[in-house]
Every structure is written in structure tokens, then in C-alpha cells.
């Protein structure tokens, strides 16, 4: 598994961060707006945003010197990469099951 997929999984393995991602899915939002949507403290929302940013799941655009005005936006690539990973796993099993069918066909032919 590629490291960036690990990072994406890690970033999403937390309920608060998943909630943030859900909110950002609707539209880009300011850090201050996101903090207002949670009962936890602003610094801990900031920490979660940092994890999301470092994993590449979101980007934060600086619009002024004030960090609360930074606009966070979801990135599509990490999710596409996860989907691609699952597709690869699926292709792997499809391939193995094809080999299994060949084996069954040989085994049953040998019996007849």
C-alpha cells in the first residue's frame, strides 16, 4: 500500500476529521466557520485541520495574515487514489478467481 494512501486512511480514521471532510464536501469553508460547527476548542479543530492538510486531503488558502480566515478546500486526488487502490485489489481477486476456475475445470475434466 502506498504511503499516501496510508496517510489518507490515517487522516480519515477520526470522527471529527470525517465531519470536517463532510462539511468541506458541501463547499470550501474558513477555519473559523469550521470551528464554530464543533463543540471542541478552536485549537483542537486547528490540529485536526493540520492533520488533514499534511495528509493532502485538504488544502488551506491563506487570504490574510489571520489563520482564522484561511479557506479550506477538499482535494479530490486522495479519494481517487483510494478508489484506485480498491480497484487494484478487485483486479487482483478477479485474476486469482480466474486462475481458480481454470484449476476447477482441469480437475473436473480429469475426473470424467
Amino acid at each position: 500500500m502506498a504511503n499516501n494512501i496510508d496517510a489518507t486512511l490515517a487522516a480519515l480514521a477520526d470522527p471529527t476529521r470525517r465531519r470536517i471532510v463532510e462539511l468541506l464536501r458541501e463547499r470550501p469553508r474558513r477555519a473559523g466557520d469550521l470551528a464554530a460547527a464543533f463543540e471542541i476548542s478552536t485549537p483542537s479543530v486547528s490540529r485536526h485541520l493540520r492533520v488533514l492538510r499534511h495528509s493532502g486531503v485538504v488544502t488551506g488558502h491563506e487570504v490574510a495574515d489571520d489563520a482564522r480566515l484561511r479557506v479550506y478546500e477538499l482535494q479530490r486526488e486522495p479519494f481517487t487514489a483510494l478508489g484506485t487502490w480498491l480497484d487494484q485489489v478487485q483486479a487482483f481477486w478477479t485474476d486469482q478467481l480466474g486462475a481458480f476456475r481454470e484449476h476447477v475445470e482441469q480437475a473436473t475434466r480429469a475426473e470424467q
Partner: protein, 153 residues
């Protein structure tokens, strides 16, 4: 396991479910393709061995004489002719981390439909120790939204 973060594949084989189960498990070393085995060590891996029964090991064998190799997983459910569940881990993951593979055998006409579901990816957190607290099934749903989004574009 109804979350969509699951890889599925299926195939129909021309034999009864009991026979399909027997061939799938006892002869896995004969049909499992090595070349595509990018999961662990494709160079050293000689064959796959699955020990029968719950608790049996699935081993990527490096030395056929001693049976030594990499333990891919353990059997969680062993229902001949119906269902097989085993854990699946990859070299490099934490010992506590594993995904889950379920194989179902269902009669289909004169043959058997064999379906594989490989899930539990959300349990793999190699890059993030200590995040298990408060974990819920929400991740799978979230991934589903995004893969849908990705496909729609």
C-alpha cells in the same frame, strides 16, 4: 459488512459448492497465481498454504520443506461448501492490523458461484498510531461518496 469500501470479485465454476470449497482451500497452492502476487514477496514466495479449520494459517511459503514463510492471515470461519473467512495482512503492517477476506460458495445452476469480498481497509492505520478511539463505520460511507464523486467527473 455492508460498507462499500470493499473489493469484490466473483466467478462461476463447474462443480458443486462442496467440491469448489475443497479445491479452493486444499489446492490453493496449485491454483494461486504467483506472478500477480504483489502483496508480499513475489520472488521468495513458492506457494500459498491454507491450514484447514478455524485458526488455520494462510502462509505464503518461502521454504516448501519447512513450510516457513510469511503468515498472511488466519481462518476465522470454516464452513465447507458454504463460506470461508480469513484475515489478510501485508508485510509491513502492524501485527494488530489486518483486513478480512470472505469467500462465499453458492449453488448456481449446475455449478457454483464463488464470491470474494475483501474489506476492513479502514482498520489499517500504519501511519497513525492511537487513532482507534471513537472510530466508527463512517469512513466507509465517506469513501463511497468520494469514489462516486470521482466516477461522476
Amino acid at each position: 459488512m455492508s460498507t462499500p469500501a470493499i473489493a469484490t470479485a466473483s466467478v462461476e465454476v463447474p462443480c458443486a459448492p462442496e467440491v469448489a470449497f475443497q479445491l479452493f482451500t486444499a489446492e490453493i497452492g496449485r491454483w494461486w497465481k504467483r506472478g500477480t502476487n504483489y502483496w508480499n514477496d513475489a520472488d521468495k514466495g513458492q506457494e500459498l498454504r491454507l491450514e484447514p479449520g478455524v485458526g488455520g494459517r494462510l502462509v505464503e511459503v518461502y521454504d516448501p520443506e519447512t513450510g516457513d514463510g510469511f503468515e498472511v492471515g488466519r481462518v476465522l470461519a470454516w464452513e465447507p461448501g458454504r463460506r470461508l473467512v480469513f484475515t489478510w495482512r501485508q508485510a509491513g503492517w502492524e501485527p494488530s492490523e489486518s483486513t478480512e477476506v470472505e469467500v462465499r460458495f453458492e449453488a448456481a445452476g449446475a455449478g457454483t458461484r464463488v464470491t470474494v469480498e475483501h474489506g476492513g481497509w479502514e482498520r489499517v492505520r500504519s501511519a497513525s498510531p492511537g487513532l482507534s478511539d471513537g472510530y466508527s463505520h463512517g469512513w466507509g460511507e465517506l469513501l463511497h461518496f468520494y469514489t462516486q464523486d470521482a466516477e461522476a467527473r
